[in-house]
Amino acid sequence: MNSRSGTAGLPAAMARNESAAGARRRRRLTPGRIGLYAFLFGAALFFLLPLYVMIVTSLKSMDEIRAGGIFALPLAATLEPWRQAWSTVCTGAACEGLRTGFRNSVAIAVPSTVLPILVGAVNGYALSFWRPRYANLLFGVLMAGAFVPVQVMIYPLVRVMALAGVFGSLPAIVLVHLVFGMPMMTLLFRNYYCSVPHELFQAARVDGAGFWRIFLRIMLPMSLPIIVVAAIIQVTGVWNDYILGLVFAGRENLPMTVQLNNVINTTTGTRLYNVNMAATILTALVPLALYFGSGRWFVRGIAAGAVKG
């Protein structure tokens, strides 16, 4: 799990070869090349199909969905399903739409991103430069914890939080996201700081700077790239989380994913596919926007974080 030996070094290779590939001259179109493009085109269609169906379904009325096929373009496009999904659909007992879920998810995601990044940065810094005794062993266990299904730890955490009187609240879900986000955040910053020249740290030590001073004045200001990567990973992870929000957030703070699942799977009566698909897009919108907006950063993040996943 070292930046130079692991997957964290891959994005650089990715970027380097990309420009080289562009510089090479284009080849002539042979039957093999045509087959190649046909395969890639077919695969792209398969990957885009669900997105296309989601969008067109969300723009149709239920009558049109019953009359036409799933792939047909909407004849009379309407935004009514979107309005319903946002403000009137039933997400359980309440029928106020997904906007409450959206608000809850934002309220959860902001502290659940800031805190783990701060803790991860301090951990990574301490592990890379100060190397306290036994810390690397603990780091190993921390990383192992990232691979363990949460079911192994979930019930004791529920009991302890209930005893402390915080179970089913915003602080509870933020704390749980901190606990389960820590391996990834620590790994990212540890690998990043491993590539910082050690002489920089030594020079600051010689000048008499202490633990926090070096961290705040030297390390943190040059951590911006990794902070962006960490934020993308953490926001996406927290936003897409279902199981932790379901168990720990409490009825008042259920995140959007849980409410979306309620909309579609626990309501009775006729299924409003158009509203369901609008609701699904709305829920996926934040991570998708992050992905399409940040492009290369997202890829860099998942490649760097691939060790945990």
Partner: protein, 289 residues
């Protein structure tokens, strides 16, 4: 002054110490302990040895969920590896529009398992989704009702999650491919070895660390499989697409059988540690070298 200086790093790492010792190890040990008690809704101290494990493996629903996990895991990992590798190799052929293609193959990975499951639930909805669309095209005998078919439901989860995750495998494979020294490929080509053999027999073995990482990622995702099943089939029809993670959650929070659920959780822990240990060992040896 000297004492303060040496203590500060420990103090700074306190959250990590607490997380590892209390939240991870402490919780896991507590779960292990509860798996040997007759705990129902609340933890009990009544020690009953390994009886819960015996009950677990006599439980039809648990055995079915293990069987589903095996089938799902095998197909999911294989499909992701094959599709991811093919996409990476094809993209690596100096194609135009590489950036667009990569974006298209990877975007599902930004979506949650819940959203993924719900989209595919709609696509595969018998009578409304692809099922009726293909019939409307004129193929009258076409039936696609896997979602409500006891024997096929688990395969719908495979399709949805492969769609979600194979782009990630593609991105990692592509990075791995490009990490291999291009001179080696050039040399092999000069020797007249066909391209597919170069990839399969020379390049693929050379990028084994990437493949190992991907395998570890995919197999832990398999063990954790929960959201996608809940969103897509709710474990149904009946219990046909039940998986262990869902079995444990149901017995913890709906069926108040904490003892049995804990035993299930411990059983899940075993393959994860068995997968992680050799990986961590290989990594630490490499780091030491």
């Amino acid at each position: 002054m000297k004492i303060k200086r040496t203590l500060t790093p420990y103090a700074a790492l306190l959250p990590m110490f607490v997380t590892v010792l209390v939240c991870y190890i402490g919780s896991a040990v507590w779960t292990l302990g509860m798996s040997m008690t007759a705990s129902r809704t609340f933890p009990s101290r009544h020690f009953i040895g390994l009886a819960q494990y015996q009950r677990l493996f006599d439980n039809e629903r648990w055995m079915l969920s293990l069987q589903n996990l095996a089938v799902y895991g095998l197909l999911f990992v294989l499909a992701c590896l094959v599709i991811g590798f093919l996409l990476a190799v094809f993209i690596d052929q100096n194609v135009s529009g590489e950036g667009v293609l990569r974006t298209v193959f990877l975007y599902p990975y930004a979506m949650s398992f819940v959203a993924t499951g719900l989209v595919w639930q709609w696509l595969l909805q018998p009578g409304d989704g692809i099922d009726s669309a293909v019939r409307a095209l004129g193929w009258q005998g076409f039936r696609l009702d896997w979602l409500v078919d006891q024997d096929m439901a688990i395969y719908t989860v495979v399709i949805a999650t492969v769609w979600q995750a194979s782009g990630l495998v593609m991105a990692l494979m592509l990075a791995g491919l490009r990490g291999v020294d291009p001179e080696i490929r050039k040399a092999a080509r000069l020797d007249g070895i066909p391209a597919w053999r170069v990839y399969l027999q020379i390049v693929l073995p050379m990028m084994w660390p990437t493949v190992a990482t991907i395998l570890l990622l995919l197999s832990t995702a398999v063990v954790k499989l929960y959201d996608a099943v809940v969103a897509m089939t709710q474990g149904g029809p009946g219990t046909a697409s039940e998986v262990p993670a869902k079995f444990i959650m149901d017995h913890l929070f709906l069926r108040s059988n904490v003892g049995l659920a804990s035993a299930g959780a411990v059983v899940l822990l075993v393959p994860v540690l068995a997968l992680f240990a050799p990986y961590a060992y290989a990594r630490s040896r490499k780091e030491a070298a």
